[in-house]
Structure formats: C-alpha cells, structure tokens
Symmetry: C2
Amino acid sequence: MNIELINTGTELMLGAVLNTHQPWMCRVLAGHGYLVARQAAIPDDSKNIREAVREALSRADLVITTGGLGPTSDDLTRDLIAELLGRKLKLDASVMAHIESFFAGRKRVMPASSKVQALVPEGATVLPNLHGTAPGLLLEVSPGQFRQSDGPSFLIMLPGPPRELRPMFIEVVVPWLKRQFPQSVAFASHTFKTTGIGESLLEEAIAPSLQPLIASGLEIGYCARIGEVDVRLSARGPQANGTVEEACALVRRLAGEYIFGCNDDQLEAVVIRHLAERRQTLALAESCTGGFISNRLTNVSGASAVFQAGMVTYSNKAKESLLGVQPETLAKHGAVSEPVAREMAEGARARSEADFALAVTGIAGPTGGAPEKPVGTVFIALAGPQGTVVLQRLNSYDRETFKYVTSQQALELLRRTLAGISTSAS
Amino acid sequence: MNIELINTGTELMLGAVLNTHQPWMCRVLAGHGYLVARQAAIPDDSKNIREAVREALSRADLVITTGGLGPTSDDLTRDLIAELLGRKLKLDASVMAHIESFFAGRKRVMPASSKVQALVPEGATVLPNLHGTAPGLLLEVSPGQFRQSDGPSFLIMLPGPPRELRPMFIEVVVPWLKRQFPQSVAFASHTFKTTGIGESLLEEAIAPSLQPLIASGLEIGYCARIGEVDVRLSARGPQANGTVEEACALVRRLAGEYIFGCNDDQLEAVVIRHLAERRQTLALAESCTGGFISNRLTNVSGASAVFQAGMVTYSNKAKESLLGVQPETLAKHGAVSEPVAREMAEGARARSEADFALAVTGIAGPTGGAPEKPVGTVFIALAGPQGTVVLQRLNSYDRETFKYVTSQQALELLRRTLAGISTSAS
C-alpha cells in the first residue's frame, strides 16, 4: 500500500507557514499501520500541480492532496486535477445548498466567489465538510491511466484549513481507507519518549541488547529533538506483537529512568496526571521562560484540578511584590542566582498554598550575559513538602529553544521527584 | 533556477515531528528571490532516498537534502547519495579532528559511532559545522548524469538539527548560491499581515482595485490562517518594484485598519514595539489562555522593557488573591463574565503599576460550557489610562486554537487602542 501526500500552497514554498497537515495526517495514518511513502509540497501554479499529481499517480495506490479548494483566484487544485483526469466539472446542487446554509447559519453574506466550491468533477464522491464550505472530493483512477497495475488507484482532494480537513480525514477518509485497503500483515509499533539523555548515549545503552531482536525483524528508529529523544520500536508479520513487547521490556530495563511516556505522551500531561492521581497541586514562578511552562501545562485538559496559579515575574519589582523575594537577596546575588530561584519557588508555594512550586530564573538572551553568568544560565527550583532543590543548567540556545529546554528540565525535575528517581542524574 | 528540497526522516512520515526545515529554508531563499519549486519528505529507507534524489536531480539545478547524516544506524543519506553518484567515501582527517575537538571541548566522551560522520564522498566540498559534528557536503553533478542540460547541477547535504543546519545555511549555502546562480530578473515581493477580517471579504475589498496591476504582472496570494490572513503581492521584471509599491499603497488605503504588519512581523512584536516607543508598560491577567499571551510577548527580545508581570489565575482563589477580584463579583456573575474580566484587568493594572493591563477569562473547553455560556465564550478586557473596555467573543475551537485566537484578539484590541483605531470593528 503506497500512499503519497501532496500539500499545495505558494505560502508553503515561501516559508510563510508551517506545514502542519503533513505530520498530522502521517500520525493518524501511522496509528492505523499505514506509512506514507512520500510527501511533497508545491506552489499553487498549474505546471507544478499537474506534474506532481501525475508523478504521484504513476507510483501510488492513493494520492491525497490538501489545499487549493478555496474561493480565491490562487485556488487551482480542483480545476487542474479535473483537467488532468479528463473529467468535466459540474455544479453540485447539494454542495451549493450546503454552502448557502453555512453562510446563512453564521449570519454572514455569501461572497459570490464561494460558488466555485460547489463545482465537482464527474464521477467524484463528495466528502461533506461540516466545518466549512469546500467539500472533499474522492476520485477513482482507472488502472493504466497513470500507472500499470491490476487495480484502480485513488485520488482524494481535501480542503486546506485544519479544522475542516481534520474531522473529514478522521470521520470519512480513514474509515474508507480501512475498507478499501485492509492491512494484510500484522503491524506493531511502540514509541518511548525520553528526556535527559542524548541520542548516541541512548543507542549505546540499548542497541547491543536489542541485536537478537533485530535479527528477527525488529526495527529501531531514533528521533532526537532538543530536550527529547524518541525511540520507536516496530515490527511486521505474525510475530510483530511479541517482538515489540520483548524489545519494550528490554528498553524499560536499560533506560527506564529517562522514559517519561510513550507514543503521543507529552511531559506536561504526564506531570499533570501524576499530580492529579495524588490529588496534589502546583504553582509556577517564571522569569526567563515568561509563561511558557504555564502555557504548556494549561494545554492539558484537566490542568485546572492541579494548576493553582502562575506568576510571570520578569522584573525584580514583580519578584518582590508577587513572590516575596527579599530585596537583599536580589541585591547580593542578582536575579539569576540559586538563592533567588529558591525564594521564588518557596514564595510561590507559600502564597498559592500549592503542594509544589516550580521556579525558573535565567538569561534567555540574546543580551544580558556576563562572563560569570553567560547567556543560557538558568536556575530551576522545586519547592515541595520535602524541601527545596535547585538545579543549575547552561542552555545556550536561541530564545525560544531556551524556553523549551528549560521548561523540559523543570517539568522533568518535578516528574523525577514525584516518581522518587534521583534528580542529580537528570 | 530550479531548487528542490528533500527532507529525510522516518519520524517525519510517522508525524512524530514538525518539518520546520522546509518553511525556514524556503523563507530564507525567498528573501533572496529564490522560490523553491518542490519539497519532498521521505522516510529513512534506501529505496525512497535513492528514488527521490534521482528524480529531483533529473529536474533541478540544485537539490538540498537535510537529515540522515547522524551517527546512528538509520542515518543513510551520505552513503546512499555517494553510491548513487558513483563516488567513494573517504575518511577526512580535518573533519575527524573537528569531531574529536567538539567532544573534548564539551568534556564528553566521543561515541565510537561518531566516526562515520567524518566520511566524505570524493570530490565533495566540506561545509564546516560550527555547532555539531556532521559537516555539510556540496557536490557538483555533471550535466548528463541525471538530466540533459548545458551546465552542471548541484547537490548539497545538510545536517538535520536546526542549530547546526541554520548557521551553515545562512553563512555558507546562501553566499555560495548567490555567486553560483545570480538573479537575472528583478523580483519584488511584499506581504501584509492582517487580522480581524476573513479571506473572502479581504479579497472583495482589495481585488477589484488591483485588477489593472494584475494585467501588468502583479501576482496576489492569500494565506488564511485562524486569526490571521496574509496578502502577498509580488512581481518580476524591470517594473517589479514600482508595481508592488503601487499595489501596497492601494491595499493600505482599502484595508489599512486590519493590517498589523508586514513580511515576518508578528502581532506580539508589533505591540511590544508600539509600547516601547511610547515608554509604556503592560501587565497581563490570564485565566483561560493559561500563560499563552505572556509566552508570546516574552518571545520578543526586548519584552522586558515593556512587560511588567503576568498572572495566570486559573482558580477563583487566585483571581481574588493575586488580582483582587471581589468574591461577590465571582459569586454573582461567575468567573467567565464581563464584570470579572473588568476587575481582573483593573486589578492587574493597579497591582503591577503598568500603564495597560489585558485580562482574559473564558471557557477553553472541551468541558465547562453551559447553554448561556457555551464552550468558547471569552471576555477580553483592556484597562488603560483612558478607562477599561471589555469585548465578548465566541471562539469555538479546540483548546490550543482557542488560546491562539483569543490571544490574537487581545493583542489586536491593544494594538487598535494604541493606534487610535475604533475597537468595535475588531
């Protein structure tokens, strides 16, 4: 089963936007055992769209395009694909009615240009769009038209806006795919998420013991990101489940302390879950991370049961008035120091009456460094029922990466503390 | 000049990570007038890498690959490309010395696997990696080996980690590109960033007046995202600058109130700049956005001159103790209400002594809605020297989109107030 994705949009080629469709669709498909063989992004111009779709149809069983179904003049996908496949476009009355009611229901005037979204290529199946105006379109392509094969191939056009595309993909495309291309070989996959250890050292720790399983079909993939390394263990065939389970047990034994979760787990959600299970609460005092840790935690549904309050105290004045940091401590040690981090955490814990409080103070840069405290210096404090610990780290990155890495270290300090794992190793 | 990008990584095809290389490289190239014709992402397997590189070399003047140069067993790019081009790999002594000193300088043990990163294909130019171990590699491909053309084509392999790739791209690849492929035709481009108006209505407002310029070569591209629509005006040829300037003047006249910036501008940076110019300060009181607005503002270098303090007050208790919201107001109107938003903004302004304070309180969902206050309901208050205004909005999105849209509306309320534009229209 060979799937290719084509994302159209000149804005993608100008780098104006992130291509979030690709990872999202790939993740959903992988969850059902389908691996995308290729993804291409191309500008909204006739030559590139025609070429890329023709080439993909010459290789793939299923080609999925996103974008270019909108009402403006640079939306070309529907027209070009109809032409390439030799299908006429016809106004679909039910789609037209849907578009009209969509605008009426929102008390908005329908722009005249929206009418083109009701044009449907002959023989296409319309995939209803519950969250917008452009329907998705599914076309069966005869064997021989673009590639030599026994069976037909398929082309699906999906709208670009994520909140239109995503429900359509989950509710219509995936069920269709599972009917049309059922999995013939068992597939098993497990991804461990780790933090606090580099990619090479992790491989050194686990790869030798996994060798025998590789001989029987185990595949290992490492994905190193700043602040996180994923290890993906997968296998196909009748033994797939057993092989992956055995590999998981080995990895847990060899590198368990670094594993904070699996598959789609995120460190902030893991921490919220651990605290919620213990009915404990958390407060935050952030200087250099500027609300980033609060934001990560409050992305988790259910955070309100755990997260009491966050104070973003950029200025010394705010550290004093909101957290009760002593002016003398600031004067003697500076805002970026072990004693200030400690007082921030203890102040946040006392004032919020939370069980735990995390505090960070550091130099995000690009300016503000000094020889004894270079840009990237950060102190991370955790105040809890057993007392306060403070870690010092040097995170020499750009501003946004600095925030991310620091938040990862702070959340990991809390995770290790809750799990009873030594924090000196983190 | 035809450029193609190939990003390798099975993790990309599993959707485990966002492809941030593509937009970043495209944006840098577009800034120098080079448009990427195609970008492909493929898994780390020999068949796909070989096919995709061969196909790209059959079309493009320049193929750039990222990833697959690391030390682990799934890093295949270097080997496969050397094989495809018929070049032998040789250990490069200077690269080896760099790798050894890289680990020594960080007081880390060099993993044995790192040695493969010193293997260089015959005839390749080594692009030094100042922030990691794998060098970039530049290869000239003879005309006729993969495509019929008069001149050679080129292949550049770059390492995957962004902080290794980005400086190498800016400092080495772009200068080389400008020498090797100087721009023959003038190119001009300008992108307006707007918020508070939809894509179709924006096109209706500006497109009719732009028609005469389209006849003389103007291209218009719209990029609609939640909370933001970009309009890109571009042209090529000797009249490019004049055409784009004239188009810009028209768009400013017809839709100026919605324009918050241009090109890479971000709303948070625009707001910080306006406040800094007026030497005014800002405080935040966030409930449902949970620190997201603080985080956006503190991503801007220089935010510390403007941003006094942020309070993330999820619980009623925190709204009372940190902001001075009256218990009776909470009891009578509920936490998500016009009076509470007003008291939050006024409390944050008074306690921080900032010139302005923004406050948001709402229901991010997925739970917590009620018939009279459905999920997505939000009140946004701005307290300032002229008094307090409160907007009510209904942002019916998933949790993270809700935070983004709400933050956009809050920052836009502040931008309009600072610019003296009516806020009822926003």
